[in-house]
C-alpha cells in the first residue's frame, strides 16, 4: 500500500465541496450573472459547524443521528473509489455492490430522519426520493456490471484503473451506453436538473431539499458535505470512464483525473443551464431509459 492510496480519499474529502461551486459558476455564466464564490460551500460548512442545532419536540434520536450516519456511509464509500489509476484504500471483490449499497444506506438514513419529523413536505420529499432511487439503482448496478464484465473484475479498484483507451475502441457502443446511463444516474442521485432543482425554494417541487428542511447547524453541514462528496464520487466514477489516460506517473494521472472530475462538473453545469426541469411523471421515463441503456450495454458485452 503506497502513499498514493491514502492521498486519493484525502483529495476527495478536501476537494468535494469545490465541485458544486464549479457547477454553480458554470450556471451563473450561462445566465449572464457573476455567481457565488467558488468556495461558497466551504464558507457555508464552516459557518454551520460553528452553529448550534435546533430540534423539534416531535423528533426522536433518529433525527439527530441520521446526518452523521449518512455522512459516515458516504465517507466509507469514498474509501472504495479509485482515482487516476491509483487503487482505493479498501478493495474487495464485489465492492461495486458495496458501493451502491453504501449510497443506499446514506439515503435510507436521510429518508428515515425526514419521516421522523412528520412534516408533510418531508414525507412527500421522502416518497419522491425513494421512487427515484428505486429507478436509478438498477441503472447504476447494471452499468457497473457492464463495465465489470468488460474488464472481468469485480472490484472498483481493479476495474477503473484497468480501463484503457483500447477498451473504448473495442467496445465503444457498450461503454458509451453505460457512461450515459451513469451520467443520468449522477443527475438523478445528486438532485440536479432535469430531475430535481437544487436551487428552488418551493417546497412542493423539492425532492432532496424537502427532506432536509428541518435540519440545521452541524447536522446540515454533514448533510451538505455528504451530498458534495457523493457528487464527487459519482464524478470520479465518470471521470475514470471518460478519461482512461495512463500518463506513467501516479501523481500526473491523479492530476488528470481531478481535472476530469471538474470537467464532469462543467458538463453538469452546461446540462443544467440548457434544460428545464422535467415534470415528475416524465422522470420515470428518463430513469427507465437509463436502466435500459445500461442493460443493453451489459447484453452487448455478454455476447
Amino acid at each position: 500500500m503506497s502513499v498514493a492510496t491514502f492521498i486519493v480519499p484525502l483529495v476527495g474529502w478536501l476537494l468535494a465541496p469545490l465541485l458544486p461551486g464549479v457547477i454553480n459558476r458554470v450556471k451563473a455564466k450561462f445566465a449572464g450573472r457573476r455567481g457565488q464564490p467558488l468556495f461558497q460551500l466551504y464558507f457555508d460548512l464552516w459557518k454551520l459547524l460553528r452553529k448550534g442545532a435546533v430540534y423539534s419536540h416531535t423528533v426522536s434520536w433518529i433525527f439527530w443521528t441520521a446526518p452523521s450516519a449518512g455522512c459516515a456511509a458516504i465517507l466509507t464509500a469514498s474509501l472504495l473509489m479509485p482515482l487516476g489509476g491509483t487503487p482505493a484504500l479498501l478493495a474487495l471483490p464485489g465492492d461495486i455492490i458495496l458501493f451502491a449499497g453504501l449510497l443506499g444506506l446514506a439515503r435510507f438514513f436521510t429518508v428515515l430522519a425526514a419521516l421522523d419529523t412528520g412534516s408533510s413536505f418531508e414525507g412527500m420529499g421522502s416518497s419522491r426520493e425513494v421512487f427515484i432511487a428505486a429507478l436509478a439503482e438498477p441503472a447504476l448496478l447494471l452499468s457497473l456490471a457492464a463495465i465489470a464484465r468488460k474488464i472481468t473484475q469485480y472490484s472498483l479498484s481493479e476495474i477503473l484503473p484497468a480501463l484503457s483507451l483500447w477498451d473504448w475502441l473495442q467496445s465503444t457502443p457498450a461503454l458509451a451506453l453505460a457512461t450515459a446511463a451513469l451520467f443520468i444516474v449522477l443527475l438523478a442521485e445528486n438532485c440536479r436538473i432535469p430531475v430535481d432543482d437544487p436551487t428552488t425554494h418551493l417546497e412542493l417541487t423539492m425532492i432532496h431539499e424537502a427532506m432536509v428542511l428541518d435540519h440545521g447547524g452541524p447536522d446540515l453541514a454533514f448533510i451538505l458535505y455528504s451530498a458534495s462528496l457523493k457528487l464527487w464520487l459519482m464524478g470520479s466514477l465518470l471521470a475514470s470512464l471518460l478519461v482512461p489516460v495512463h500518463a506513467g506517473h501516479w501523481a500526473l494521472d491523479l492530476a488528470i483525473a481531478i481535472v476530469g472530475v471538474f470537467g464532469v462538473g462543467v458538463i453538469v453545469g452546461v446540462v443544467e443551464s440548457c434544460l428545464a426541469r422535467l415534470r415528475m411523471p416524465i422522470i420515470l421515463q428518463l430513469l427507465v431509459g437509463a436502466s435500459t441503456m445500461a442493460a443493453v450495454a451489459l447484453i452487448l458485452l455478454l455476447r
Binding site: K27, F30, A31, G32, R33, S120, F121, G123, M124, S127, R128, I193, P194, D197, T199, T200, H201, L202, E203, L204, T205, E272, S273, C274, L275, A276, R277, L278, R279, M280, P281, I282
Partner: protein
C-alpha cells in the same frame, strides 16, 4: 325579458343617479343576475350597502362586452336571501363577501366561508357566528377522507418573499384532488378607509392597493372621480396614462415570464427577464420618478409633464428593452424542455373559464376574447385599439404565450403613442363630486379587468367605495386549474396566474 327593460344601462365610467338604479323584487333580481350571466354577460360587481331606512341594498352589475354596456339593478334584503350562486357560479365570491361585510346570509350557498376574516360592518351580525375578532384562516376546510388521501398545508408563511396566503391541498399520492385557498391575511380595510373621502389619503390608498398595479388601480379611481365631477381629462394626460398602464403591463409580464422560467429550472431566461423587468420599471420612473408609477396619475389628469428630453430618452430605452426582452423570451420557446414543462400543465377549459367569470391573460389563454381595453374602452383606448391576444390551450403555456403576445403589442402601442403625443395641458381643474351619484369604472390592468364602483352621499363624499381586483375572480380559477394535477406543478401554475394577495384582501 321583462327584467332587462327595468335596469339602468351605463357605459364604462359614466355617472348616474343612485336613484336611477331600479329596485327589483327578489325573483326579478335573481333572474336579472342569473340570466344576465348566462347570456354572454358577466358579473363585474355585486355588493351591498346600507340603506337609511334599515336593511341592506344589493347592487349587481352585468357587463356585456359586445355592447360595451353595464346593466345595473338593485334589490332590498335584510338578514337572509336565497343564494344566487346555485344558478350563477360567478356570484360565489361576491356572496361570501356580502355575507361577511353585512351579515346577510345567502341561504343555500354551496361553500359559505369568510373571505377576509374581518368583523361584520353591522355590529353583532356575524353570519359565521365566529369568536370576535375573527382570526384569518380559522374556518372549516373541505376534506376528502380515505386511506391514502393526505392533506398538505402551505402558508401563510412561505419560503419565498411573497405575500401571505394559505393553501390546503387534498392529495392522493402526487395527484391533487382538491385545493382550497384561504386569504385575508393582508386585509387593511381600504374600502372602509375611503368612506367619507376623497381626502389627502385617498389617492395614496389607491396607489398602494396592490403595489404592482399602482397605475391600474389609480387610473380606475381617477376615472371614477372624474366622471362623478364631470371633469374632462386633457388628451395629453390620457396618452401619458395609457403609456404608463402599458409600461406596467410590460414590467409585470416580463417579470412573470422570467419567474415561470425560474420555476421550470431554466435559469437563462429567469436572470435576463429579472433584469429587463427592472429596465421597464426604470422607464416608468423616467415618467414620474417612481419605479412603480406612484405620484403620476391624479384626478384630472397626470401630475408630471413628459418633456422632450425625457421623451427621447424613453424612446431609446424602450427600443433597447424591447430587443432584450425578445431575445430573452424567445429562448423559452426555442427550448423544447421548457415547452414540454409548460404544456398540459394546469389546463382550464373555456367552459370553466366562462362559468367562473375569469379575467385577464388567464381568460384570454382559454380563448375568451375578454379585454376591457376593447370591450369597455376607456381613456385613450377609445381612439387607439390594441388587438386582443388570445390562445386556445388554457394551460401554463397558453398563459405564458399570451403574456408574450401582449408584451409585443404593448411595445408597439407605446411606440405609436410616443410618436404622436398630443399637446396641451396635462391636468384639468377638479371640482367637488356630485351628490347621490354612482359610477362603475373599468380598467384593464396587467392582471385583468379592474372594477371600481363609487357611490356618493348627500354631501358629495364617498358613501361607499368598492374595489375589485382581477385576482378576486382568478383565485378560484387557480384552485380549479390544479384539480387532477401533480402537486409539484402547483408553483408553476401559481406563477402562471400570479395573483395579488393584497389586491384581493384590500
Amino acid at each position: 325579458m321583462s327584467s332587462v327593460t327595468s335596469t339602468c344601462v351605463l357605459r364604462n365610467s359614466q355617472a348616474a343617479a343612485i336613484a336611477s338604479a331600479p329596485v327589483l323584487g327578489e325573483s326579478e333580481f335573481r333572474a336579472f343576475v342569473t340570466e344576465g350571466a348566462r347570456e354572454g354577460g358577466r358579473l363585474v360587481a355585486f355588493f351591498g350597502y346600507p340603506q337609511s331606512e334599515g336593511g341592506i341594498r344589493l347592487l349587481a352589475a352585468i357587463a356585456r362586452g359586445g355592447e360595451s354596456s353595464l346593466e345595473v339593478a338593485t334589490t332590498r334584503v335584510d338578514r337572509v336571501y336565497p343564494s344566487l350562486t346555485t344558478d350563477c357560479v360567478q356570484a360565489h365570491g361576491f356572496e361570501r363577501e356580502i355575507a361577511e361585510q353585512w351579515g346577510v346570509e345567502p341561504q343555500g350557498h354551496p361553500w359559505l366561508k369568510p373571505v377576509r376574516f374581518h368583523e361584520s360592518y353591522r355590529p353583532g351580525q356575524d353570519v359565521f357566528k365566529r369568536q370576535q375578532p375573527p382570526q384569518a384562516g380559522l374556518a372549516d376546510f373541505y376534506r376528502i377522507e380515505g386511506e391514502e388521501v393526505h392533506e398538505v398545508a402551505v402558508g401563510p408563511v412561505h419560503a419565498g418573499i411573497i405575500e401571505p396566503g394559505h393553501f390546503r391541498f387534498q392529495c392522493h399520492g402526487e395527484e391533487v384532488l382538491h385545493l382550497e385557498i384561504s386569504l385575508g391575511y393582508q386585509h387593511r380595510g381600504v374600502e372602509r378607509a375611503l368612506v367619507g373621502g376623497p381626502n389627502a389619503r385617498s389617492l395614496h390608498l389607491m396607489e398602494t392597493l396592490a403595489g404592482d398595479t399602482t397605475i391600474g388601480h389609480t387610473t380606475a379611481y381617477c376615472q371614477a372621480v372624474e366622471s362623478l365631477t364631470g371633469v374632462r381629462v386633457p388628451a395629453r394626460a390620457q396618452a401619458i396614462r395609457a403609456i404608463a398602464l402599458e409600461l406596467e403591463r410590460l414590467a409585470n409580464h416580463t417579470g412573470d415570464l422570467g419567474a415561470l422560467a425560474g420555476d421550470a429550472g431554466y435559469l437563462p431566461t429567469m436572470s435576463y427577464c429579472g433584469r429587463i423587468r427592472g429596465d421597464f420599471l426604470n422607464i416608468t420612473a423616467l415618467l414620474c420618478g417612481n419605479r412603480f408609477g406612484r405620484n403620476l396619475i391624479c384626478p384630472g389628469g397626470v401630475a408630471r409633464e413628459l418633456d422632450k428630453n425625457r421623451l427621447a430618452q424613453l424612446e431609446t430605452r424602450l427600443a433597447q428593452a424591447s430587443q432584450d426582452v425578445a431575445s430573452a423570451v424567445n429562448l423559452l420557446w426555442e427550448s423544447s424542455s421548457v415547452r414540454a414543462r409548460f404544456e398540459n400543465t394546469g389546463t382550464l377549459s373555456k367552459e370553466t373559464c366562462l362559468q367562473l367569470g375569469l379575467v385577464g391573460p388567464v381568460a384570454r389563454a382559454c380563448g375568451v376574447e375578454r379585454d376591457a381595453r376593447r370591450e369597455f374602452p376607456f381613456g385613450l383606448y377609445r381612439f387607439f385599439q390594441i388587438p386582443v391576444s388570445t390562445f386556445h390551450h388554457g394551460n401554463v403555456f397558453g398563459r405564458a404565450f399570451v403574456r408574450w403576445l401582449e408584451i409585443q403589442r404593448s411595445i408597439n402601442f407605446i411606440q405609436q403613442q410616443l410618436k404622436a403625443l398630443p399637446g396641451g395641458a396635462i391636468r384639468a381643474e377638479m371640482k367637488p363630486m356630485a351628490p347621490g351619484q354612482f359610477c362603475l369604472s373599468l380598467v384593464e390592468g396587467w392582471r385583468g379587468e379592474i372594477c371600481h364602483v363609487g357611490l356618493t352621499g348627500d354631501q358629495g363624499q364617498w358613501m361607499l367605495y368598492k374595489v375589485k381586483d382581477p385576482s378576486f375572480h382568478n383565485w378560484m380559477g387557480l384552485a380549479v386549474a390544479l384539480r387532477g394535477q401533480q402537486i409539484s406543478d402547483f408553483p408553476l401554475c401559481n406563477k402562471s396566474f400570479n395573483l395579488s394577495y393584497c389586491g384581493h384582501d384590500l
